[in-house]
Amino acid sequence: MLKIEHLTKCYGEKKAVDDLSLHIQKGEICAFIGHNGAGKTTAIKSVCGILRFDAGEIYIDGISVKENPLAAKQLIAYIPDNPDLYDFMTGIGYLNFVADIFGVDAAARNERIHRFADMLELTKDLAQPISAYSHGMKQKLAIISALVHEPRLLVMDEPFVGLDPKAAHLLKELMREMCREGTAIFFSTHVLEVAEKLCDKVAIIKGGKLIRAGKMEEVKGDTSLEAVFLELEGEQ
């Protein structure tokens, strides 16, 4: 579903992502871990077509992000690390805006919005302006907006930040359910325990380079993901 081939993205002289290759199949959950400034967000934004990259290719279900960004974006949903949403809209206004852009028909969007809003306990706040939302509420709204068009690939940058424990638990359940239905999920996180329990795959990035990637069991072996990560971080 997601095929990243030799992705390189530079900011001036600095290579933020350096020759990164990674494949994620349908129904797989892949955690993307690395220290602050390792290049996770740059790679994620490149996958979503927000950032243009200097070399390499990214395919979403065989569609090139570089050559056909609109068709690729139609299959993706992206949740950023800091959900800056339109303060001038209400929650329901924002969800309808996203649904309109994805061309989701009225019946389908109403059903999905209410299903996910009920699940994340945001329904009663949907008529409020987003400016009145807390960080966690904005995060929940961003999650609902990401699910409203039933994406084939869900890309998230630190999705658990700001969520209350119940919402975090529900999000994990949602992720598992989406995987069962064939959606691929690629997300960055610093919570290694969550990655270890939730993910089929893990990719570790350091200084823009992918230093380890593979099935979770293969990467961590008999130890914990935390131990592997710290060991890799310690290596030059």
Partner: protein, 533 residues
């Protein structure tokens, strides 16, 4: 601490001059020089225009011993400019800055935060106030009877006067904040209050100006009559004449008022800056929502943004209100206007030349609608949303253009119809004036978007920065004025050789060509820039 805060505020106020808009790095020497020259040119252009009026008043009043009255008139004009320049952003700057929470969480007394925010409003007001006071002072130096002490005071007076602008702006800001804390539709109320205040001010100002009509016949009497109400400005004028006591009185009163306002504001600042009480909670009703097309969804998004921001509405959409108002005024006074037409025709040496002037004037008014000029910057940190959605960047830009036209075209048409009824021009102008107006409106929409794509600013603390303190808005607004003036001036050497109607038709053709070029640029290059911001 206070020094660091001032530095931060001034960096914010002047960031559009010294920082690149896209990456927020310091401008290189060359780029900085270009920017300073551009702003300097615009400032100088407006100052020169106002200098001629100042010179006229100075030459008329000073020989009659009414220097104080000259300064009073110029001070009132500069107050209008200063208040227009700062009143619309006072509330936002003082109470809605995005770094309010960050600063309040630091060990900084709230009154210090307020003080530095006020410094921002002061500078903003001073800039606009100087547009009048600088030419007024220069005219006074050239044509007045200047003493050494008077010269020093005349230089200092605009800076003191700006505290009065600040105080008036703050009073309105306080009123708006007090009401906004208790209501849901803040933007609408702020907009209406600001417009009401402005209307009140203009009413008072027009009353004064109507007194001035009689000025030439009963100068001394008028001056004596208004000396009482204009007590403050009487002393300002006397100070410019070198009266130290008047300088002390003027400075004392202005700074005293400011101090009172500051104490009043500091008393309520914390509450108002952190309050959102009283707004009724709207219950959500499950309703089936109809699906919109992508274009319509994007347009509605722009419309909602516009309607939610009083700063945006007042600063970039005011022209949409002024144009129909101007049209209605023309209709009301159409007999007077028609009576004056032959006089102007005789003066300009041609029957149709006056229609060219009307066309230039309404085009100038049209450039007061500049909704597209900050529209890219206003995406701010939310730009990731449209960049990550499956929508072509050019469609996002088209929605911005459409909003501009949606707001501007009805206003322009009303103004055009009223103008045509009022002046009853010849047939070619019946078609050409509205055409020129609509083409100019489209040109400003495209030019504003072009400028904002060239100089976007996505990292701002409050919307005032992209709306009021950005290069794109300044260049678009004043560029429109400069262009109309230039097109008008271009006709002078052609007068007698080219018929006014033909000239206006050529201008329309030129505008259509410029619009086409700008549209094609926005469609391709502009869309590419937007996608990579």
């Amino acid at each position: 601490m206070i020094k660091a805060l001032f530095k931060k505020q001034m960096l914010e106020v002047f960031s559009y001059l010294f920082m690149t808009n896209k990456k927020k790095t310091r401008r290189t020497g060359k780029a900085l020089a270009y920017t300073l020259v551009l702003y300097g040119f615009l400032f100088a252009y407006l100052c020169v225009m106002l200098f001629f009026m100042a010179r006229f008043l100075c030459e008329a009043l000073v020989p009659l011993g009414l220097t104080w009255f000259y300064f009073a008139i110029m001070a009132l004009m500069s107050l209008v400019m200063g208040i227009i320049g700062s009143v619309f952003n006072t509330y936002t700057t003082l109470y809605q800055a995005k770094d309010n929470d960050t600063l309040l969480a630091m060990p900084i007394p709230p009154r210090y935060i307020l003080l530095v925010r006020l410094a921002g409003v002061y500078v903003s007001g001073l800039f606009f106030e100087l547009l009048v006071m600088l030419p007024a002072t220069v005219a006074w130096f050239m044509y007045g009877e200047v003493t050494a002490l008077g010269a020093i005071f005349a230089v200092l007076l605009p800076f003191v006067l700006s505290f009065f602008v600040l105080s008036l702006s703050c009073l309105l800001g306080l009123l708006v904040a007090a009401i906004a804390a208790r209501i849901r539709h803040k933007s609408l109320v702020i907009t209406l209050l600001s417009l009401g205040f402005l209307a009140l001010y203009f009413w008072g100002y027009s009353k004064l100006m109507s007194s001035l009509t009689d000025l030439m016949t009963v100068l001394g009497d008028i001056a004596q009559r208004v000396k009482g109400p204009l007590f403050l400005f009487y002393h300002m004028g006397r100070a410019a004449e070198g009266e130290a006591l008047s300088m002390l009185i003027f400075t004392g009163i202005v700074l005293g008022i400011f101090l009172l306002i500051y104490l009043l504001l500091s008393h309520s600042f914390l509450t108002l800056a952190t309050t959102n009480r009283g707004a009724a909670r709207k219950a959500y009703k499950r309703e089936r929502t109809a699906q919109r097309s992508v274009g319509r969804a994007l347009l509605v998004r722009e419309l909602k943004h516009f309607a939610s921001s009083s700063v945006y509405m007042l600063n970039c959409g005011l022209g949409a209100l002024m144009l129909p108002l101007m049209g209605i005024m023309l209709l009301i006074f159409k007999d007077d206007v028609r009576a004056m037409l032959p006089l102007f025709e005789a003066m300009l040496g041609g029957a149709d030349v006056i229609y060219l002037l009307f066309a230039a004037f309404v085009c100038m008014m049209t450039s007061m609608i500049d909704l597209t000029a900050p529209s890219v910057s206003l995406e701010g940190k939310n730009i990731w949303i449209v960049q990550s959605l499956p929508v072509e960047p050019r469609r996002v830009l088209y929605a911005k253009l459409l909003l501009h036209l949606l707001i501007g075209v009805p206003a322009a048409l009303v103004a055009a119809v009223c103008l045509l009824i009022a002046i009853s021009p010849s047939l070619p102008f019946l078609i050409l004036i509205p055409l020129a107006m609509l083409l100019f409106l489209l040109f400003i929409a495209l030019f504003g978007l072009f400028m904002n794509l060239k100089a976007p600013n996505l990292s701002w603390a409050n919307e005032t920065v992209p709306v009021k303190q950005s290069m794109s808005v300044t260049v678009t607004l004043f560029g429109g004025w400069v262009l109309t003036a230039a097109l008008g001036a271009l006709y002078v050497p052609l007068h007698g050789h080219v018929a006014p109607a033909l000239y206006l038709a050529l201008v329309c053709l030129l505008l259509a060509g410029a619009c086409t070029a700008l549209f094609l640029w926005i469609r391709k290059k502009g869309a590419e820039i937007f996608a990579t911001l």
